[in-house]
Subunit: 330 residues, 2 copies
């Protein structure tokens, strides 16, 4: 894997903003460059404060603790979300390099079996590759669609861990999807929210998400079943600005209490198993990042449900709906 | 172990404050009571938001994330520090029950060997036991001193993990100390900062901190030695209000840079090994809670020094001085 980023436009912007102290926010994979990036910014005469917190996305704005010591925050590796901040937020996008195109060329026969109409999806670190992939697939006779997402999505074809609108918006027009990027959660989200076959890449080549989707849905219905007899619910809200679904949490709390059950809202920054361990609620609803309840559920000893899964528990709804963040829930 | 706390005075205070929503902040050991405490507060007509974050003391005020949804914060298990907050801070002290008195009675011969003049120290959860211990030891012929601490300490004889002033203030007047409480860090701090013998209790009875002090000091000088050739230092500051020694961090940064070395200030909420792991600095200075560098140092792959230990690295000072938080460093 190789990361590509260009500091020149950032340094230009910092000079124009006339800031003095810059807060530097890096996701885990880029923390190793903190001292290099900091030294480049300091060479231009700025002061730097590095954030040591984990950073999971543009939703994760640590400004309350930085606004009294920094004049702006620079986030690497993500694209902006429609969020307000006490101090200016700048974004440096980082492109990842990965030989997905070779894998695609070697597996054309496999994907041709699924149909002629393909939707392309990606994450911000690969989204600029999509036009290239589109051109290649068109040259092989495919009809290629790249969907527009809602206002939380910066690029056509981009999906977030909490927003699959650029896939659902074109689901009816395609036979299957190809995810250009890494990791399983984003293509899984597309597979669940569109119910179409999704192909993704790993170091062995190309694979379909179908089996993984079946496995995860079984796990989710297991958690839903385990939560059925819960009397006391902890409703977890993250203080991360783009995940803080307090309005939704209050609606869920009232819904639970109206059924004569107990609910408390639990506010925390990072959601992690060791922070929940000490509490004594029967089940937890995660109103923070939708990935937590699904990717990390097995690390928690008590059932961890998404807000949509709670509806299955309380109302007996049967259809599985993936949790996504709606700007109006914040 | 048994915990004792009384909710009636808290409910009185909440009624007088005329608040609507109460933020509940509990250390790990008390999180199991969150649903009970919440239900008692809700019975009085208040709304409750439970903090899911770890809480390590009165230094750890999460108000930036609670002040827009809560009208006050209630912290259980600690005594107030001189800190400002955006919303009122209330404290409910929790007393722990532990059969230290039996252990003391059974070990009078052991402590008598150390002299007649004894200083008593404790943490907030046991500090109300000190007059009882004083009376008992006086009846056995000891001269007993309980020291006054500085303005960060709420009770005579109370020590914090970052403030041993109630011990150092009487060190010249006593032959040895007895620590009434649990855990090794607080009596260790007294042993290092006073250089007097300190006795503490564990489930086997009473023991001296001498061996542990020697072990820890060897480890600390090991870390200091490993940090000697560092070129790039990460200076860790916690955003926790009572630990945020940003002024000190800036002084250390300048000191390191004046020697032609590299230093960056890294701001984070909770300090933990996994947050540091991704960075590529040679050594780290912890300006957060002084316990982190000492209690947890082995969990970090790079040397973790206290600000006082950095002085040994940079200036070649020989005497080991324990790190304590001075209100003027914040």
């Amino acid at each position: 894997m190789k990361y590509e980023f260009d500091l020149a436009p950032l340094l230009d912007k910092l000079n124009k903003l006339e800031v003095k102290t810059v807060g530097l926010v890096l996701p885990e994979g880029l923390k190793m460059y903190a001292d290099y990036i900091s030294s480049e910014i300091k060479k231009q005469g700025f002061e730097v404060i590095v954030s040591g917190n984990f950073n999971y996305g543009a939703c994760d704005v640590p400004d309350p603790y930085f606004d009294d010591i920094c004049d702006c925050l620079v986030n690497f590796g993500h694209a902006p979300l429609p969020l307000e901040s006490n101090i200016p937020l700048l974004f440096v996008e980082v492109n990842f390099v990965f030989p997905y195109m070779d894998y695609l060329k070697n597996n054309l026969d496999l994907i041709k079996k699924e149909g002629d109409r393909v939707g392309l999806i990606s994450t911000v670190n690969y989204v600029k590759e999509l036009p290239k992939v589109k051109k290649f697939l068109q040259s092989k006779g495919f009809e290629v669609v790249i969907g527009e997402g809602d206002n939380r999505v910066a690029y056509p074809g981009q999906v977030l861990g909490c927003d699959f609108s650029s896939a659902t918006s074109i689901s009816d027009e395609v036979d299957f999807f190809i995810f250009v990027g890494e990791g399983r959660f984003h293509p899984l989200g597309v597979a669940i929210s569109t119910d179409k076959k999704v192909f993704a890449f790993d170091c062995d080549g190309i694979y379909s998400l179908n089996d993984y989707k079946d496995k995860i849905l079984k796990e989710r219905f297991g958690a839903i079943f385990r939560a059925k007899d819960s009397k006391r619910f902890g409703i977890i809200v993250s203080s991360k600005k783009g995940q803080k679904r307090m309005k939704l949490a209050k609606i869920l709390k009232k819904k639970i209490e109206d059924l004569g059950l107990v609910a408390d809202i639990i506010l925390m920054d990072e959601v992690s198993p060791d922070k929940i361990y000490g509490f004594d609620y029967d089940s937890y609803i995660v109103c923070a990042c939708p990935r937590i309840g699904i990717d990390d559920a097995k690390r928690y000893k008590k059932p961890l449900l998404t807000p949509k899964e709670l509806e299955i528990v309380l109302d007996g709804k049967e259809e599985y709906v993936l949790d996504e963040i709606d700007q109006s829930d914040l």
